[in-house]
Each structure stands twice: as C-alpha cells, then as structure tokens.
C-alpha cells in the first residue's frame, strides 16, 4: 500500500534524482496520488513538491525519448495541481512553470504538445492565471495559430484563453477584428469539447458588445447563428446551456435580434428544462434564465405563460438544494417578478414567500442577498403591500437583522427590500419600529460605504412616506437634524438626492411636520438652500424644490422663511434660483417651481399680498404669466392656479 500521507523524506529527494528511472517513477507517483484528490494536492503543495516538479520540467530535453517522457509526466502533475485548487495554480505560477509550458507548445512531439496544452488549459480555468494581453501583436498571432490548429487540445487552449482574459469591449473588438469569431465558428461542428469551448468563447466576445453581435449574426450569411440555434437542441445538456447563453448575449445586445417569438419561447423552455440537470448545468441554468428575462416584460410574460414560477417553486421544495441553486432560483424569481403583477400574484398564491423567509437566514451570504433581491421585486406591488403581506414580524425581524450582516451586499439587498415593504400605505409602521429597525437604518446612514448610506436613506425616505406624526417623530429623534443636513451635503450625489427626498417627505402633511425643517436653528433648511443654489443635477434640484414647496405650504412663519431663502438680499440682486428654474428646459423642474409660487401666494394667508408684491418686483409674476400657456399640461395647470391667486389680490 502506498504511503497515504506524503512524507518529505523521500519524495523531494527522488524528484531531484539524477537517475532517470527514479525521477520518472517519483513524478508518476505524485501524479497518481494527486489526481482527483484535493487533500493530497494541498499536502504536496505544502511539502514543496511543485517547484521540484517544475525544475524537472525545465531541465528535461524534449528531443530525447526519456526527456519527453519526463515532460509528459511532469506536465500532467503541474496541470493536476492547477486543477480546481487555487493554491495549486499559485504554486505552479510561482515555480515558473508557465513559460516552459508555453514553450513546449511548439515542439515536434505531439504527446508533449498535448500534455502542455492540457495543463495550460487547466491553469487558464483559474482566475489566478496571468492575463493574456490581446493588444500585443505577437500574442494575437499566437492565439490565432492556436485557434486555427487541427489539434483539439490547442484549439481548446485558445478558447480557454479567450474565456479567461477577454473582459473589456476593447479586447472583444481586437478579437473580433482579428477574425477570431470565424475561427471559433469552425469549432461548432467539432467534437463535444470543441463545440462547448467555441460556444463559451463566442459568448465571451459577444457579451454586451452590439458591434461584435452584428458581425456575428451576419457571419457566413447567418449560418453561424443558425448553427448556434441548432445546438440548443444538442444531446448534451452543457452544450444546450452554452448555446442558450450565446443567444442570450445576442438578444441582450440589441432588441432587433432574435425577435421571433418562437425563439424566445424556446429559450425559456430549454432553460427551464435544464434546471432539472442535477449538476453544474442545472445550477447555471437559473442564472442564464435571469439574464434572459431581466428588464424585459415580453419575456417575463412568456415565462409566466410557460409556468416558470411553478417550475422554480417545485425546485425550491427540494430540501437538499445547494446554496448556488437557491441563489440562482431566487434571483430568477426576482427578475421574473420585477414588472408583472400576474407573476407576483402567482408567487404569493404558491406561498413561495415561506421558502423565501427561510432563505433570509441561510448560512451563505449569496443566498441571503438573492432572497432579499427577490423580496424587493415581489413587494413592488401595491396590491400585495396593501394586503399587508410583508409588514409582519416573520419578515421584518429577519430583515432588520440582516441590516447588521457582515456582508455589505446582504446589507444593501436587505435595505432594498425594506425600502419597498415600508411603503405599506398604512400610517402605522410600528412593526419595524418595535424590532429596532430605525436604529439600524439610522446607523447605516452614517456608514463609510456610500451604497449603504444611499439605500438606508432611501428606506427611511419611503418609511416616512404618508407616515403619521408619531412615526416621523420617532425617526427624526433618532436621525437628528444635523445628520440630515450632513446627508444633504453628502459627497455622493445619489445620497444627496435621497436625503432631499427624505426632507420632502418629512415636511409633507400636517403643519407640525413642517417644523422638522426648522429644528436646530434651521440647519436643514440652510442645507436645502445651498443645494438649490449650487447643484448641477436636475434630479437633486427637483427633490429640493418639492421640499421647499412643502415647507411653503406651512404657516406664515414658514412661508416667510422660504421667501428669505429665495430672496436673501435686498430688493435687487442676482437672479434668484426660483426664477432660473421657472425657465428650465425640464418640465418637471418648471412644475416644482410653479408649485412653490402656488404655495407662497395662497390667498388664505395674511402675508400673501406682501409676498406677491415682492415676486412682482423680481419679475416672477411676469414669468408665471408667460407659463400660463406652457406646452406641459402640468406646468400650465400650476401656473394658472398661481396666476388666479395673484389676480385675486388685484393685478396692478
């Protein structure tokens, strides 16, 4: 029986022996020990076997029979170390074996070439493999020579390099212009492994690249595309999946390709069927499904009609699903429910929600994230929100717990879900308050990570939408006016926008609520005013304008504070931001500005007359008059209301 645990005594010594037989036997022994055996690989790596084998490889002479034997065996050892074990790839690269393997690709002995190509292919399957620089001409020549080769191991290596290293659009274009698509298409008629390698590398070149896609669909008068479509019916499930992925890349690059409803339906059915595969193909099928339906209502509809939700639900009922599968299925369900109410209601009626709740506490972060993303889209439903399906302890407690998850992506996804479920159209948000949700959310608004700040503010903004005064007060106390002011001036523009929207919701509703803007000596109001005067972004300004408009609907004191903000100096001075926004090209901005005028000139308040006089002095009344015939209905309506109020005080 061979020693089951490698011992340093002999093996390193024998590997560096000067006697051919001893050395060859030692290398073969290592090979047969490590192939298929992760534990052995790790312990041999620790022992320092990789550099010893790499030395043997470097020293061997490919022209002699003995040397060739040593090379074939040591190359196999190196390939196996690199297979499936990152530590192995690192050790192989550190030992300097890589350039030797490349060199061996051009020797005469075919066995040596095969062995070297196989090992390099293993290395290129790892992220740790060195990046292949496509922009060097000699590199492209080398790659094309691989793709052109008759030898399956060499074409396989070429495809592996493309799959590993082609990431940017520039790289895709270089490959495209050099004619690599034509070469790869040749492999579609080849053996199973050639077909798979070709499909995967074609997909890599086409992904998100409309130019490359146009070139591909016209290749050989569309014959290349037809071959790929044909391969979606292949006998091997992996080939079917890769062919689907290729078609998805084509479909996603531009809406003008693969418009045919038959093909869209076919893709959906094939991917749903591939879910039944018990291996990796089944895992990847749901991710492919996601990218097929994401953001596309027509495909979501077709998938709904193909009973996709039932199908995913059936899979979820298997208690032994691994984490990758769970993640993929929840992401797919999330995309499926992102637009259509029929999908969401099927989701609810099958009670998939129960399984989703379990997934919120899964051990794997990716599963927790996927479950939150799915919950976010399912709760994008006024019907489900109004029915109160989400605002209960079974969901809220685990969600709030995820706000302090160690993994940022889980926190962001949980915030996304919370953002939606707090819009429950009932003023009572006690469930989330009781389980400490507000403390967590406020805590996250102070995070160093801007995506966490953004989503936390967003959640709070939604939570106080139509909330009662008690709820707003609870949140305001926790958040404090100075923090709100800080968020309005956050370095991240998207956070600024949400913070202004938060203020807008705070001061919306009853008169008391307007007071929030005046806490701590009006620190919030000052911050809003600063953004309105300096921000170049329209989305930010619109939120700020509505915050101002809501404040201007308050009492006399509130209205005067807004007047002060609009006209800080004496009677004349630089043009105010209000006047500037009344003339904006963006109708949304004009609407918000007109709203401010409406609220400032409301005839029921005693100071309206004085404010109108001031507006007139600054030329704003004249502007409003011109807006009474604005092309935008909304603007026209608000301008006419304002004008009516102004005229009621006498048009002088």
């Amino acid at each position: 029986m061979p020693a089951s645990r490698p011992s340093s005594d002999q093996i390193l010594h024998r590997l560096s022996s000067s006697e051919y037989e001893i050395k060859l036997k030692a290398i073969r022994e290592v090979k047969n020990q490590i192939i298929g055996n992760r534990t052995k690989k790790l312990s041999y790596i620790k022992l320092g076997v990789v550099p010893a084998v790499a030395d043997a490889l470097a020293e061997a002479n490919a022209d002699s029979d003995n040397g060739a034997n040593l090379i074939v065996q040591s190359t196999a050892v190196i390939g196996s170390f690199a297979c499936g074990v990152d530590e192995g790839v690192r050790a192989v690269l550190d030992a300097g074996a890589f350039p030797h393997l490349i060199r061996l690709l051009s020797v005469a002995d075919e066995k040596v070439v095969d062995a070297a190509a196989r090992s390099l292919r293993m290395i290129y399957q790892s992220k740790l493999a060195p990046k292949f620089e496509f922009n060097k001409e000699e590199n492209m020549d080398f790659l094309l020579s691989l793709l052109r080769s008759e030898n399956e191991n060499l074409t396989g290596l070429g495809a592996g390099i493309v799959i590993h290293s082609c990431e940017t659009r520039d790289e895709q274009n270089i490959l495209c212009h050099a004619g690599s698509l034509e070469k790869l298409v040749g492999g579609l008629d080849g053996s199973m492994s050639q077909r798979d390698a070709s499909l995967e590398s074609i997909a890599t070149i086409l992904k998100n690249n409309p130019g490359a896609v146009s070139k591909f669909v016209e290749l050989q008068n569309g014959r290349a595309l037809r071959s790929v479509i044909e391969l979606t019916r292949d006998r091997f499930s992996r080939t079917r999946l890769l062919a689907c992925l290729c078609l998805i890349c084509i479909k996603n690059s531009s809406s003008c390709f693969l418009q045919d409803i038959a093909i869209k339906t076919k893709l959906i059915y094939i991917l749903l069927e591939l879910l039944d595969d018990s291996g990796q193909v089944g895992e990847e099928a749901s991710f492919a499904f996601s990218s097929l339906v994401a953001g596309k209502e027509d495909l979501q509809k077709l998938a709904f009609e193909a009973n996709a939700i039932d199908k995913f639900y059936n899979h979820l009922q298997n208690p032994e699903l691994n984490s990758k599968r769970l993640e993929g299925i929840f992401l797919a369900l999330g995309d499926l429910c992102s637009k259509l109410e029929c999908c969401r209601s099927r989701f609810m009626s099958l009670q998939v929600l129960n399984l989703l709740i379990n997934a919120l506490t899964h051990d794997e972060a990716n599963v927790r994230t996927a479950a939150c993303i799915c919950l976010k889209t399912v709760s994008r439903s006024i019907k489900n929100l109004s029915a109160g399906y989400f605002m209960n302890e079974r969901i809220v407690i685990p969600l709030v717990r995820l706000l302090s998850d160690l993994c940022t992506s889980v926190q962001v996804a949980a915030l996304g879900a919370i953002s939606n479920i707090v819009v429950d159209f009932t003023p009572n948000k006690s469930t989330i308050i009781q389980c400490g949700g507000i403390k967590e959310l406020v805590h996250l608004t102070k995070s160093m990570d801007s995506s966490l700040r953004l989503n936390a503010v967003w959640s709070l903004r939604n939570m106080i939408f139509l909330a009662d005064k008690m709820c707003k007060e609870a949140i305001f106390m926790e958040l404090t006016a100075s923090s709100v002011a800080t968020l309005i001036c956050d370095p991240e523009p998207s956070v600024q926008e949400q913070a202004l929207a938060l203020v807008r919701n705070f001061v919306d509703g009853c008169m008391d609520c307007v007071e929030f803007a005046f806490a701590e000596n009006g620190i919030i109001l000052d911050a809003v005013g600063r953004q309105l005067k300096k921000s170049p972004r329209i989305e930010i300004i619109i939120q700020g304008m509505y915050a101002v408009s809501n404040i201007a609907s308050g009492n006399e004191f509130h209205k005067e504070a807004i007047m002060q903000m609009i006209f800080p100096q004496a009677e004349s001075g630089p043009q105010s931001f209000l006047s500037q926004y009344l003339q904006s090209n963006d109708s949304r901005l004009r609407t918000s500005a007109a709203w401010i005028i409406v609220n400032l000139t409301a005839p029921a308040s005693p100071g309206a007359f004085g404010r109108i006089a001031k507006l007139r002095n600054f030329g704003l009344v004249a502007q409003i008059k011109r807006m009474a015939s604005d092309p935008c209905m909304d603007v026209k309506l608000r301008a006419r209301v304002a004008l009516g109020q102004i005229i009621s005080f006498g048009d002088s």
Binding site: M1, N32, I35, G36, N37, R38, A76, R118, M122, S191
Partner: protein
C-alpha cells in the same frame, strides 16, 4: 325477428368492424419492406460503431481491412480503454487508476463521482481480501475527505465500511457491494467516462435502433395486425396469431 332486433344486430356488426384491426398480409408487408432502401456503408458504420464502443479492437481492425470502413476513433485508444476496463473487472483498481491517468489526466480530476467510485472499489477489494487494517486506514485517509466534500459520497462510504462489521458477509445487508456486478458497474462507469473524454458516444447505436424497432412494432400493433419480428436474433417475420 322484429325490426328492433334487426337494427340492434346491424349496429353490433358495424361496431365489431370498427373495433377489428386492419390486417396486413405477409406479401404486402414484405413488399413494403423491400421498398425501404438501406445503404451498405451505413450498415458497416453501425457495425464498426458497435465494435469500437464495445471495445472489440481486433475485430474492428479486421473489419476495417475487409470492409474498408474507417473507425471514427484511433483504434489504439480502444486497447488502452479495454485495459482499464479489464483491470477494474479483475479487481486491480489501483492499476486501472494509473492507466486512466496515463490516458488523460483530466478524466479523474474533473469527475469527482467517478474518482470516488474507483476509490470505493479499491476499498471493497481490500475488504474482500481480508485486509481489515489497511481497509480502515484507506477509508480514513483517502475516502473520508471526499465524504466531507459531498454528502452522498459520505452515505456511500458508510455503506461500504459497514461491510467490515460483518463476520459472515453472506448475511450482510450491503453484501451486494462485494458482488461481481459491483465491479462491472464501476468498470462500465470508467469506460463511459473515457469514451466521453474522447468525444465518443458512450453507448453503441445498434441497441437503440433495436429498441426503436420493438417500440414501433408495439405502436403499430395497436392499430394493425402484421407480421412482426419477435426474435431479434433471427429477425424472422412471424405471422400474427
């Protein structure tokens, strides 16, 4: 007979006619079959495919010479594949593993299930030969780590180790693992994996064609009565009963 009864009788006759199947006489059937053309080269390819897939390398060489049919695979690889198969069938699993690794080091590195089954077979052979201590050590060192990686491997490992607990193997509930059929099962799994790695189908085409023949006959038999082939080894047409 009253008119009523005449009508009833006529109706019954019509019904019987509808239910009876169409009868196809032998000469008509043979004429129809004669009209189907099968190319000689296609037949030869099917035979070659059978010889190659099943591993009859010498027969394949002879057949290639005599019929001029080129095999779709390098015949030398068949010899290697058969050597692996034979090694498993005769219980030399370690030898088989080395041979597979010489043939293509990727096969066992990328197929954990096959690798586990080969290691399991090694364990079974150790137990069969009464090497209890060695078996235990092997299970611990080689197989237990695979069980940690995969739940179903762990269950299979537990089943295999249970063999050690029984003095009298004939009474052991997992005794079938020691059966020769277990070796054949493992051998055919290795055979299939090697064929797949060579981009070759793992099953010959001939059995599928015969399966299709039997299925098609059964389908037709529901609608018609015709001379059918019941014994596929003679392919004789038998008249319907």
């Amino acid at each position: 007979m009253s008119l009523f009864w005449i009508v009833v009788r006529q109706l019954a006759e019509i019904e019987a006619m509808a239910a009876s199947k169409k009868v196809i006489p032998r000469e008509v059937w043979e004429r129809k079959l004669n009209n189907v053309k099968i190319r000689k080269e296609d037949m030869n390819k099917l035979v070659m495919n059978f010889l190659v897939t099943e591993g009859f390398v010498e027969a394949a060489e002879k057949f290639c010479k005599e019929s001029g049919t080129e095999p779709d695979i390098d015949l030398a690889t068949i010899t290697d594949r058969m050597a692996v198969k034979k090694a498993v069938q005769s219980g030399n699993v370690e030898d088989a593993i080395e041979k597979v690794n010489d043939l293509n080091p990727e096969i066992l590195d990328t197929n954990p299930q096959l690798f586990f089954h080969l290691q399991q077979q090694r364990l079974i052979e150790l137990i069969r030969n009464g090497k209890v201590e060695e078996a235990l050590e092997f299970a611990q060192e080689e197989l237990a780590p695979r069980g940690e990686e995969n739940q179903s491997f762990l269950e299979e490992l537990e089943r295999t180790v249970a063999l050690l607990a029984f003095e009298d193997i004939s009474n052991c509930p997992v005794g079938e693992l020691l059966d020769i059929s277990q070796r054949l099962k493992t051998a055919s799994e290795v055979n299939a994996a090697i064929l797949t790695s060579q981009s070759h189908e793992k099953d010959p085409k001939l059995p599928s064609l015969l399966k299709m023949l039997i299925w098609a006959q059964n389908q037709l038999a529901e609608k018609a009565s015709f001379p059918r082939i019941n014994d596929i080894t003679t392919a004789a047409l038998e008249d319907p009963v």
